[in-house]
């Protein structure tokens, strides 16, 4: 069975994938459909959805187009999700690989370091980091990456520990391959599937984290993101439900889609496990 066929066996994953593609399309089409800045005050404030042509989702507290904000926000959310996950992987994978491969004192030191981060609540640490670095896209990406790499490190370490004594690894060692080559060319490729599954879920978590930070007013003030839209609409939620409703739905769908896709990937990459389930 092909990879995609196994993926598609999970109906939920297929739905998730379609939603995700739609959101990516939104992000790509945003500058074409709404070439003007989403910050532009274009109409009367508080227009309800569908009350005027060109404003299908209405306008916000300052007369900005909610639809435009939603589309441009998709790009910001996806970008932050992907970049911060990549950064987290860049920190977590090498640390986990080294700890798991070498074991002993190196493992102890690296794992105590990881635990140090794991003992601090993620969100609290992210708030502190962003507040210290001043809110901007870079500081938010960094903060999210810094709070989300420990699970990656632990996962990779566990995989390496179980693989490092396999016969093919011993064979590689016997023919004189260096440790670096063994880590990168022999073991790492075999740990990729759990990493991919974890990464897809991490993108979802990162989007939620960014939204939560923006909601608290710690987003990049120059970027229209979904969390910012909800945060700004919070104060008028009794007068204008649509301002927080649509970005809220967008976050919900994106995170749901990513989770479904993650589950589908898990099924597709670990056929044995999924059959047993």
């Amino acid at each position: 069975m092909s990879f995609f066929a196994r993926f598609a066996q999970n109906r939920g994953a297929l739905v998730g994938l379609i939603i995700l593609l739609l959101i990516i399309a939104m992000a790509i089409l945003a500058p074409l459909l709404f070439p003007e800045s989403p910050w532009r005050m274009v109409q009367r404030p508080f227009l309800p959805p569908l009350s005027q042509d060109g404003f299908p989702l209405g306008t916000d507290t300052m007369g900005r187009n909610v639809a435009s904000g939603l589309m441009h926000g998709a790009w910001v959310s996806l970008l932050i999700g992907l970049v911060s996950t990549s950064v987290a992987l860049l920190i977590g994978v090498p640390l986990g690989a080294i700890a798991g491969y070498y074991g002993g004192i190196i493992d102890d030191v690296l794992m105590r370091f990881t635990e140090f981060f794991q003992t601090i609540p993620n969100f609290a640490l992210a708030i502190v980091l962003v507040a210290i670095m001043q809110p901007s896209i870079t500081s938010i990406v960094l903060a999210i990456a810094i709070v989300s790499w420990p699970p990656v490190a632990r996962l990779v370490r566990a995989e390496f520990m179980s693989l490092r004594n396999r016969e093919y690894v011993e064979a590689a060692r016997l023919v004189g391959q260096s440790n670096t080559t063994i880590i990168l060319r022999q073991i790492l490729p075999n740990t990729l599937s759990p990493i991919i599954v974890l990464a897809s879920l991490m993108v979802a978590t990162a989007i939620l984290l960014e939204s939560a930070l923006s909601f608290l007013g710690l987003g990049d003030p120059n970027v229209m993101s979904w969390g910012y839209m909800i945060g700004a609409a919070r104060t008028v939620i009794r007068q204008a439900w649509w301002l927080s409703f649509f970005p809220g739905v967008a976050i919900l769908l994106t995170v749901l889609a990513l989770n479904l896709v993650g589950e589908g990937l898990d099924d597709a990459l670990n056929p044995k496990l999924s059959r047993e389930r």
């Binding site: 800045s37 910050w39 005050m41 404030p45 507290t61 300052m62 001043q134 710690l218 003030p221 120059n222």
Partner: protein, 518 residues
């Protein structure tokens, strides 16, 4: 001002008050209102915080009160006269006034309050007192202030919050800050301090011995302390609270609350403070050092939009440096109307190359954040490359104090007279690192310094007016800072609370005349 004129004005003020009262007030009832945040203490002069002024302005009194046009009205002084050279002010005190503990209020109390108590404790009163040579009680009910030179805003400095009268018999010769009476303030006002349950409520009760016939009508005023903004709004909605003084609920809640049945709103009662929102522009370096750039910023901003959308249409878009509630406003200046094309022209003319500038919003909540977003968008539309940098209050204070900014939001009180609240922003000897409240923009203009200094001590008012007119023309051309808005801080109240706001400081001394139509 000579005596007949002064009397005419006080008579007019009395007539105004009695006309407003013609509606046959009812006696009795207790008003529940809010104080936010909880004041650190209640002795005016010793504590200068806004909430102290609000509560204690009903316990203590000054020599004068000010109408919503900032005209002086009699309070503890029933009349006053000014000598022809503007250096001698004679106040005739009301007779038969007693302190809340029964002692008589006399001219000695005035001399003690001004010359001893405020000189030692109160920086804002001290700024006025530095112009005073001597204060004398010529008899029990007459006090004469002799000034070193004429000082234009002298007569507007006697508001209770700034220049309150404190009892000599309780404070003279004691350690003021540790005086046992600080916990139980004794004033001459219409309400007496009754009880302060920390974190819950401050209760004032009617002063039965009050010297003004029939006043006050209310049996008492309870100032509730509710730390959370949303809870304050709810307390007003469910009618636990009758009066929301300005600034006690979030801006965005105001339209909703104002639309409720039996709720009235007034914008009056903040004229004395008249907060003026400004955009600091760094005059020292970067594009903002160019006058044409600063003018372009003025033309690029849609200030009417900000007023309508962000401030619920309340407030006023100023012409230039002098707000509409300041005296001596020059009305002939051409307004900086919203004109993006003119802004682009000016930017072309100066050869602006798209250098990035930053804008610091005021970290005081949602309205200010939205405002910064609007201004940023306005500026981007005329081609200014502007980025917003979010800060907290500490960071904002520090960056302004260090002059590390291009554009920054702020607001300042005007205190009724240019010499008290306006000149401080433009005088070059007021440039000093470390404070976010002085001449932060770094504007230096010898002629402006000269005019402001001359106008502060010029006499009479016609001469001041001419000097201030010229200074406004220069400032209007140079645009040292952006003039955003005179903020409207409305007071919300149940419509059956009658006659609540009768002066330029609103509820700070307003419960004296208020009554309940229930």
């Amino acid at each position: 001002m000579k005596k007949p004129l002064a009397l005419a004005i006080s008579a007019a003020a009395l007539a105004f008050t009695s006309a407003a009262l013609a509606d046959d007030p009812k006696e009795g009832g207790v008003v529940n209102t809010i104080i936010q945040p909880e004041p650190p203490g209640l002795v005016l002069g010793m504590v200068q915080n806004a909430p102290t002024r609000t509560v204690s302005g009903n316990i203590y009194e000054g020599l004068l009160r000010y109408s919503t046009d900032l005209e002086p009205m009699p309070q503890l002084a029933e009349s006053w006269e000014v000598s022809d050279d503007g250096r001698t002010y004679t106040f005739h005190l009301r007779e038969g006034v007693t302190w809340h503990d029964g002692e008589a209020f006399t001219a000695d109390d005035v001399v003690f309050s001004a010359d001893v108590f405020h000189r030692e404790l109160n920086p804002s009163a001290r700024a006025v007192l530095q112009h005073v040579e001597s204060i004398e009680a010529t008899d029990d009910h007459t006090v004469v202030f002799t000034l070193k030179q004429p000082f234009g805003p002298f007569l507007i400095s006697f508001e209770a919050g700034t220049f309150t009268m404190v009892p000599e018999h309780l404070y003279a010769g004691t350690d003021f800050r540790n005086n046992e009476h600080n916990d139980h303030p004794i004033g001459t006002g219409p309400f007496k301090f009754s009880n302060w349950e920390r974190g819950t409520v401050i209760e004032l009760v009617k002063n039965e011995e009050y010297y003004e016939e029939g006043l006050p009508y209310l049996d008492g005023v309870n100032w509730h302390i509710i730390p959370d903004g949303a809870s304050r709004a709810v307390a007003f909605e469910n009618e636990t609270i009758d009066v929301l003084p300005s600034g006690t609920v979030e801006n965005f809640d105001i339209p909703r609350l104002a639309e409720m049945d039996n709720v009235c709103m007034t914008e009056e009662g903040h004229e004395y403070f008249s907060p003026f929102a400004m955009l600091w522009m760094n005059n020292r370096e970067g594009p903002t050092a160019d006058k044409r750039f600063r003018q372009a910023v003025m033309y690029a901003m849609d200030r009417e939009f900000a007023k309508d959308v962000l401030w619920n249409g309340l407030g006023n878009v100023p012409l230039s440096a002098f707000g509409s509630n300041a005296r001596f406003q020059n009305d002939d200046l051409e307004p900086y109307d919203y004109n993006p094309d003119r802004a682009r022209e000016l930017l072309d003319e100066m050869g602006y190359d798209g250098e990035e500038i930053t804008i610091l919003p005021l970290p005081y909540g949602e309205t200010w954040t939205r405002w910064a977003e609007a201004v940023q968008q306005n500026l981007r539309e005329v081609g200014i490359n502007v980025e917003t940098q979010a800060t907290d209050v500490g960071g904002w204070n520090q960056r302004l104090g260090d002059w590390d900014y291009d554009l920054a939001f702020t607001y300042l009180y005007q205190y009724g007279d240019p010499a008290l609240g306006i000149s401080r922003t433009y005088l070059s000897d007021n440039i000093a690192k470390g404070s976010p409240w002085n001449n932060v923009e770094g504007y230096e203009n010898e002629r402006v310094d000269e005019l402001f200094n001359e106008a502060a001590t010029a006499f009479p008012d016609e001469e001041r007016e001419a000097l201030y007119s010229e200074v406004q023309e220069i400032l209007h051309e140079d645009v040292p800072v952006g003039w955003l808005m005179e903020l409207g801080f409305p007071t919300l109240y149940r419509c059956d609370v009658q006659n609540l706001v009768t002066s330029g400081v609103g509820v700070n001394d307003g419960f004296k005349d208020a009554w309940l139509d229930r």
